[in-house]
C-alpha cells in the first residue's frame, strides 16, 4: 500500500461517525513529506510513538507536509502533542507552528513542560483535501508526536495517563497485526551483531528476517552514530569485514563509505529479508518459547507479526527478551556478587553495594572548517549544561550517565542533555577568534548506548573470565582488547562537566566468551548477541566493542543453523551438538 493511500485511509477511518464531534488523529511521523524533519523512533516505549524532530543544528529546517482527507468541513480545533524539551527561564528552544492550507495557526508550539497536547488554534476546513505543514521556527530540535483535529474544543482526554490505549482506539488498531510472515530466524536489531547473525545464518541457508528501526544498518557503527568498530575478528573475519569500519576518528564523515559497504553486503543476500525502519514493539512467549515478534513501521505505522522457531535479540536494550519474560540484569553488581573488585580503582570499578552507575551514552558530533565566518547563537538553555566548557567536536568521552537516569527509560533526557552540552560547548568555542570559521557539520540525534539491559544466559560472563583467560570448551568469541569501563568525570571533580567521562583500562591477554552466554537461560528459543549478552557490568567492559559483538552475532547465526538442522534448542547446541557447531565455526575462516 502506498503511503499516500494509507494516510488517506487513516484520515477517513478516524472520523467518528457516531459521535457528534468530528475528530482526527494524525501521527506526525506519517507525514508524506518530512522536509527537514527527522523521524525519531528511539523513545517509543516511553512516550508512545515515534515523533518528528526539527534537528537543524540551529537553522530552521524545511517544512514537513502531508495531505489529509477530511470527511466533514467545518471549524476545527487543533492540538499538537509536543513538549518544551528544555523547560526553564528562557525561550523554549524547539518552537514550531502548524500551517493548515497555507495559513499558520495562531499559537506557537513546543512551549509546555512534559509531553502534552498543546493547543495550536482553530481553523476552518473548507474542502475535504487538506494540506498540513509543520513549520520549524528555531532549528533546535522542536518535536511533534501527533496532531489532533476536533470540532469540539475539549482537549484530548487521558492523553498523558493512558495515551497508548487512546491512540489505539483512535487509530482503530486491532491487537494482532493482520500481516504475518514466517522465517527460520527472526533477528531484531541491525547493529553489527544483528548484521553478522543475519549473514552467518543466511550463508547456512536459513531464511532470515532482519528487523531494524533505522533506514541504515550498523547501529553505533552506522553513519548516523559514527563509532568505529574496535576489537578483533576472531574466527569470523570474512563475515565481519563485510560490515565493519575503518579506524577513522569517531564522528568522522568517513562512516558513510563503510555504511554503503555494509548495506550493500547485507542486501546482497537473497534469503535475508531486510525490514529497515521497522521497530519491534512486542514479543510474546508461551511456555517459555517465543511465538512471535510484532513490529511497526516507524513512519507509516503498518504492522507485521513475525513468526519463527528461533529469535535473536540484538536490540542492544534486550527488548525482545524483556517482552518475552527473559531474565535480565541492569546496573553495576556489587563487587562481591561475582568477585570483580579491583582495588586500584575501588568504587569506580566495582562498588561494594550494587547501584545504577552504568556506563553512559554518547552523542557524537563534528564540525566543518570553512573559508567564511559563521555565527552561532548564545544559548542560555544550553549553557546551563555546558557552563564554560568549549569544544568544536566530540569524541567517545562525550558521555552521560547519572544515577537517577535509566539508560533505556530516560534515554530521551540523556540525548537531550547531550544536545545541550554540544550546542553550549560549541557556542562557547565560537566566542574565540580562532573558531570563527567553524560551523557545525553534523550532530547525531541518536543515543549511542554502551550499556543497558543484559539478558541472562546459562553462563554469565564476568571480569574473572578475563583475568583467568578461561578457555571454555564452548568458546566461540575471542578478544584481546582491554577491559574498559567508564565513569563520569564529575564524580571525582565537581568542576568537570557532567557530560564527560573517563575510561579505566584493565590490560589483558586473549580472553574467550562461551556460547552459553549467547542464549537465554529461561526463554528456550532466544539467542542474544551484542551488548545485551549475558554478562556482568564489568564483564561487558571488554566485549562491548563492535567487532566483538559482531563475533557474537556470527556465532549465534551459525548456532541457529545447527538448531535448524537438528530441530534443536539453542541450549541443545551446547549439550548435544557442540562439536559439530565448533567445526562449523572453524570452517568460517
Amino acid at each position: 500500500m502506498n503511503k499516500v493511500n494509507l494516510i488517506l485511509l487513516i484520515g477517513l477511518y478516524l472520523i467518528c461517525a457516531n459521535s457528534k464531534a468530528q475528530n482526527l488523529l494524525i501521527e506526525a511521523e506519517s507525514f508524506i513529506n518530512k522536509g527537514g524533519w527527522v523521524v525519531d523512533p528511539q523513545f517509543v516505549e516511553q512516550m508512545g510513538s515515534p515523533y518528528l524532530m526539527a534537528h537543524g543544528m540551529g537553522i530552521p529546517v524545511t517544512n514537513a507536509s502531508t495531505r489529509i482527507a477530511f470527511n466533514e468541513k467545518g471549524m476545527y480545533h487543533v492540538w499538537a502533542r509536543t513538549k518544551n524539551w528544555v523547560p526553564g527561564n528562557w525561550d523554549a528552544p524547539g518552537q514550531f507552528k502548524i500551517i493548515v492550507n497555507g495559513k499558520a495557526l495562531k499559537k506557537t508550539l513546543g512551549v509546555t513542560t512534559g509531553w502534552s497536547w498543546e493547543y495550536a488554534g482553530k481553523v476552518k476546513i473548507k474542502s475535504n483535501d487538506v494540506d498540513i505543514q509543520l513549520s520549524d521556527l528555531t532549528g533546535f530540535n522542536g518535536r511533534c508526536d501527533a496532531l489532533y483535529f476536533s470540532t469540539s474544543k475539549k482537549i484530548p482526554s487521558d492523553a498523558e495517563t493512558n495515551l497508548d490505549a487512546w491512540r489505539k482506539a483512535k487509530l482503530g488498531e486491532t491487537i494482532a497485526p493482520k500481516e504475518q510472515k514466517a522465517y527460520d530466524l527472526v533477528i531484531t536489531g541491525g547493529g553489527l551483531a544483528g548484521c553478522a547473525a543475519a549473514i552467518a545464518a543466511a550463508e547456512q541457508g536459513l531464511k532470515v528476517a532482519l528487523i531494524h528501526d533505522r533506514p541504515v544498518l550498523g547501529g553505533n557503527a552506522s553513519e548516523e552514530i559514527r563509532v568505529h568498530t574496535l576489537g578483533i575478528y576472531g574466527k569470523y573475519e570474512r563475515i565481519l569485514k563485510m560490515i565493519d569500519t575503518k579506524h577513522y576518528p569517531n564522528g568522522s564523515f568517513e562512516a558513510r563509505y563503510d555504511q554503503e559497504k555494509r548495506d550493500r553486503n547485507v542486501k546482497s543476500f537473497k534469503n535475508i529479508d531486510l525490514f529497515l525502519d521497522w521497530r519491534a514493539y512486542d514479543a510474546v512467549a508461551h511456555n517459555n518459547t517465543i511465538k512471535h515478534v510484532d513490529a511497526r513501521h516507524t513512519a507509516t505505522g503498518e504492522r507485521i507479526r513475525f513468526t519463527a522457531p528461533r529469535f535473536v535479540d540484538s536490540t542492544g536494550d534486550g527488548w525482545i527478551g524483556f517482552w518475552a519474560g527473559a531474565e535480565f540484569s541492569y546496573g553495576r553488581e556489587s563487587a562481591s556478587t561475582y568477585g570483580e573488585a579491583w582495588d586500584e580503582w575501588g568504587e569506580l570499578w566495582s562498588p561494594e553495594e550494587a547501584d545504577n552507575f552504568v556506563m553512559g551514552s554518547s552523542v557524537l558530533w563534528q564540525n566543518e572548517k570553512t573559508n567564511e565566518v559563521h555565527a552561532f547563537p548564545q544559548l542560555p538553555w544550553a549553557s546551563s549544561i555546558a557552563k564554560d566548557h568549549k569544544a568544536i567536536a566530540g569524541e567517545w568521552y562525550w558521555e552521560f550517565s547519572r544515577n537517577d537516569l535509566h539508560q533505556i527509560h530516560d534515554a530521551e533526557e540523556i540525548r537531550d542533555h547531550m544536545l545541550r552540552a554540544i550546542f553550549g560547548s560549541f557556542s562557547n568555542a565560537k566566542k574565540l577568534e580562532e573558531n570563527k570559521n567553524y560551523k557545525l557539520q553534523w550532530v547525531s540525534y541518536l543515543v549511542g548506548k554502551r550499556e543497558s539491559r543484559r539478558l541472562i544466559g546459562d553462563y554469565i560472563y564476568t571480569f574473572n573470565d578475563v583475568k583467568t583467560h578461561t578457555k571454555f570448551k564452548d568458546a566461540v568469541v575471542e578478544e584481546v582488547r582491554e577491559v574498559d569501563v567508564h565513569y563520569q568525570r564529575n564524580l571525582k571533580d565537581s568542576k568537570e562537566p557532567d557530560f564527560l567521562s573517563e575510561a579505566i583500562f584493565y590490560e589483558t591477554e586473549k580472553y574467550y566468551i562461551p556460547y552459553r552466554s549467547l542464549y537465554s537461560k529461561n526463554i528456550d528459543n532466544l539467542f542474544m548477541a551484542g551488548r545485551n549478552f549475558s554478562c556482568s557490568h564489568i564483564g561487558l567492559g571488554g566485549p562491548r566493542v563492535m567487532l566483538t559483538t559482531g563475533q557474537m552475532g556470527a556465532a549465534v547465526g551459525l548456532a541457529a543453523a545447527i538448531c535448524n538442522k537438528h530441530n534443536a534448542t539453542p541450549r541443545e547446541v551446547y549439550t548435544m551438538h557442540l562439536e559439530e557447531y565448533l567445526d562449523l565455526i572453524e570452517k568460517q575462516q
Binding site: 523547560p87 564540525n367 564524580l491 571525582k492 579505566i504
Partner: protein, 370 residues
C-alpha cells in the same frame, strides 16, 4: 693492603654518613599540608627497579623507597631519590628527581636537585611552568600516557593543530593526540613519559603492599581525619558499623565537603542507626541544595532510614530535584504519609507555584490527586 683497607673503611664511613645525613625535604611541589614538617625518621623499606627506556642499553637500576615518619614514629610519606636515563633518538641523558608518595602509594609531589635541572629535547632545561605541568601530569593516575608505548607517541605529537585535522593518523584518534599534547611538557615528552611510568609503576604497587604491614587502627583514624580524599575513602572502607557510629561527626563533615564518589559511598554504607539520629540526619540533609545530583538521589532513597525530620528538610529543597528525583520523593510521600504534615505540604504548595522550577506542574498534579 692497608691502603685498600683504609679506602674500604673510608667508603663505609662516608656511606654511613650519607645515610645519617638529615635530608632536605623541600619538594618543589607537594600536595599535602603538614606531613613533611616533623620528619624524624627516614628509613629504606624496600627497593624497586627502574628500567631504562633506552632500547640500546636496557639498564635496570634499583632504587630505595624510604619511609618518612614523624617524631611520634607515625609513618607519613614515602620517598625516593631517583636517577634515571631519559632517551630520545638514541641520545640518553640523566634525569634526577625526588619523588614523594603518600601512604597509599599515590603520588603527592616531587623535588629536584637544584644543580641537576630536568631537561627537554635538545638540552633545554625545564622552565618553572614546565615543572608545574609535570606535577599535574604525575598527579593524573589515569594519564593518557599510561597505556601507550613511547614508540606510539613519537612523530605523532608535533603535528596536531586541531582535532579535526587528524583523520590521516592511524591508531591514535585526533582527540587522543590532542590530549597527549596537552598533558605533557612541550619538548619534554620523553622525560614526562619516563617519569610518569616510574612514579606510577612498581614503587606504587610495593607501597600498597607495604602499607598492609604497617597499617593499624590508629593509622586508619589518621586517614579518616586527614584532609585528603583518597585517605578518607580508604579509611571509610575499613570502618565497621560501630566505628561508623563512633566517627559519625567526622563522616558527616567529610560528606559535606568531599566529592560525589565519596559521598555516594558514605550514603550507601551509613548504618540505619547512625543516619536515623536527628543530628546526623540534619547534617546530611541540610546540605541537599549544595551537593551533587547523584548524592541527592541517594539522600532521597535513604529517606526510609533517616530520621523522620528528613522528609520536611527535603521538602524545602524540591526545587533542586530532577524530574526523576521529584517522582521518587513524591512516591515516597505517597507510600509513607497518609496525610502530609503542615510543613511538608506548605513547602510543596510553594514549589508547585514556583515559576522557576520546571517540574512544578508535577507537584500540582500530585497535590490535586491527594
Amino acid at each position: 693492603m692497608y691502603k685498600s683497607l683504609a679506602f674500604i673503611a673510608l667508603f663505609f664511613i662516608v656511606m654511613g654518613f650519607r645515610n645519617q645525613k638529615k635530608r632536605d625535604y623541600n619538594p618543589m611541589f607537594f600536595n599535602m599540608t603538614n606531613e613533611l614538617k616533623d620528619i624524624a625518621k627516614d628509613e629504606p623499606v624496600f627497593k624497586f627497579e627502574v628500567k631504562s627506556l633506552d632500547t640500546a642499553y636496557s639498564a635496570q637500576i634499583n632504587h630505595d623507597v624510604r619511609l618518612l615518619s614523624n617524631s611520634n614514629g607515625e609513618p607519613r610519606v614515602f620517598f625516593s631519590d631517583i636517577e634515571t636515563s631519559v632517551c630520545a633518538d638514541g641520545e640518553c641523558k640523566l634525569a634526577n628527581i625526588k619523588v614523594y608518595w603518600n601512604l597509599l602509594g599515590n603520588y603527592v609531589g616531587y623535588g629536584i636537585h637544584p644543580e641537576l635541572p630536568l631537561t627537554k629535547y635538545e638540552h633545554d632545561t625545564f622552565e618553572r611552568e614546565d615543572y608545574a605541568k609535570l606535577h599535574q601530569l604525575l598527579l593524573d593516575e589515569n594519564s593518557i600516557l599510561k597505556r601507550r608505548k613511547i614508540t606510539d607517541l613519537i612523530d605523532k605529537i608535533p603535528v596536531s593543530p586541531s582535532n579535526i585535522d587528524s583523520k590521516d593518523l592511524d591508531g591514535i584518534s585526533g582527540a587522543t593526540k590532542k590530549e597527549i599534547k596537552e598533558s605533557v611538557v612541550k619538548g619534554g615528552l620523553y622525560s614526562c613519559y619516563t617519569l610518569w611510568h616510574i612514579v606510577h609503576g612498581e614503587a606504587k604497587e610495593k607501597i600498597k603492599t607495604y602499607l598492609q604491614s604497617i597499617n593499624t587502627p590508629a593509622l586508619n583514624t589518621y586517614f579518616l581525619y586527614a584532609p585528603y580524599r583518597d585517605y578518607q575513602i580508604y579509611a571509610l572502607k575499613q570502618l565497621n558499623k560501630a566505628e561508623f557510629k563512633e566517627h559519625s561527626k567526622q563522616i558527616a563533615s567529610i560528606f559535606q565537603s568531599t566529592d560525589a564518589l565519596t559521598r555516594t559511598y558514605v550514603l550507601k554504607k551509613i548504618p540505619e542507626d547512625v543516619l536515623s539520629e536527628q543530628r546526623t540526619t540534619s547534617q546530611f540533609y541540610d546540605v541537599f541544595p549544595h551537593i551533587d545530583i547523584n548524592s541527592r538521589t541517594l539522600l532521597i532513597k535513604k529517606l526510609k532510614d533517616a530520621n523522620s525530620t528528613a522528609v520536611e528538610i527535603v521538602s524545602k529543597h524540591v526545587g533542586y530535584m530532577t524530574k526523576n528525583q521529584l517522582s521518587m520523593y513524591l512516591k515516597y510521600l505517597e507510600e509513607t504519609y497518609e496525610s502530609l504534615n503542615g510543613g511538608v505540604k506548605y513547602n510543596l504548595i510553594k514549589a508547585s507555584n514556583s515559576k522557576r522550577y520546571a517540574y512544578s506542574y508535577l507537584i500540582k498534579e500530585y497535590l490535586k490527586n491527594r
